[in-house]
């Protein structure tokens, strides 16, 4: 009885000590790929790392740049996303130009990407790229 009582007290002390310890992690968020459409736009969002670690091997999100050679070679790009089959398996694509094309240069392998494209168009509108500690780093 005494042994049980001592163990209970010790457990309580450990529990309290554990709850008082400071958190050893910053703010994090999970951003699986999501594609959504309405009558005007198709939207796509997600982090590159979460797309890569998704259980559905067909899931992806990203953007890429192309460049022509030559003295004033032009640069152009594309963005693309496919959500997991579990949430519909929808796809979205867009063609960045102007400022959105410039923004692509800030993309890295841990970025979060959001873009929207009009249903009757192809230009990326509202391209948003976020590089933040909140997003998981891409795993091998």
């Amino acid at each position: 009885m005494n042994i049980l009582g001592t163990a209970s007290r010790a457990g309580l002390v450990l529990l309290l000590a554990g709850s008082a310890a400071p958190a050893l992690a910053g703010q994090t968020s999970s951003e699986p790929v999501d594609v959504y459409s309405n009558s005007s736009y198709t939207y796509a969002s997600g982090s590159i790392a979460d797309a890569r670690s998704d259980v559905d091997p067909n899931t992806y999100i990203g953007c890429q740049l192309y460049a022509n050679g030559g003295a004033s070679g032009t640069t152009f790009g594309s963005c693309f996303a496919r959500e997991p089959a579990a949430t519909g398996g929808e796809t979205a694509f867009c063609y960045p130009d102007g400022a959105t094309l410039e923004l692509l240069k800030t993309l890295n392998s841990d970025s979060y990407i959001f873009f929207q494209v009009p249903v009757d168009g192809s230009s990326c509108q509202g391209l948003f790229i976020s590089n933040s500690s909140r997003y998981a780093p891409k795993q091998p």
Binding site: Y66, G73, T91, F93, V119
Partner: protein
């Protein structure tokens, strides 16, 4: 060494010129027309003293150049590489790839065929990637627009692993 030979040759040549036959005459001419009045000589622009002074100056300049050549000869390899660098710099700027009408035609054909079947395959993607750099910008945008709209509205399905472009 070569520089010194050049100097000696130049000095000898100039000295011969200065101390030789007067302008406008030659031993041959003189022999052929002994009875004629002497051919008028052009006025001497430089008196002999002045000529000697100029020869000396030329000699000094040549000696200086010869010294420079000797010093630079020691770094011939570096000179060579610098020479090729300057040749590279002088090369004309890279020429922009001109839009290729055949590539444009093929790209439009590719997208048109995919629109017909409703499928955008990996083969289509790979071929388009090869064509894209050769397309005129405005027409490339129009083509991509057609492709993207079709993919987004479901008129065409991308059967590819990874990005469709």
């Amino acid at each position: 060494m070569n520089g010194r030979l050049i100097i000696v040759a130049t000095i000898a040549g100039l000295a011969g010129f200065a101390g030789g036959v007067p302008f406008g005459t030659s031993p041959r001419n003189g022999a052929e027309r002994p009875s004629r009045a002497p051919v008028p000589m052009p006025p001497r622009e430089h008196p002999p003293g002045e000529l000697v002074r100029q020869i000396k100056e030329q000699g000094e300049l040549l000696a200086e150049l010869a010294g420079k050549i000797d010093r630079l000869a020691g770094s011939a390899a570096g000179q060579e590489s610098r020479g090729s660098l300057s040749r590279d710099r002088a090369a004309p700027a890279a020429v922009d790839p001109l839009p290729d009408p055949e590539a444009m035609h093929r790209a439009e054909e590719l997208v048109g065929a995919a629109l017909g079947t409703g499928v955008w395959s990996e083969h289509d993607r790979d071929e388009l990637r090869g064509l894209l750099p050769h397309l005129e910008a405005a027409r490339r945008e129009a083509l991509m627009r057609k492709l993207i709209v079709a993919l987004n509205n479901g008129a065409m399905h991308a059967q590819v692993t990874g990005p469709p472009f």
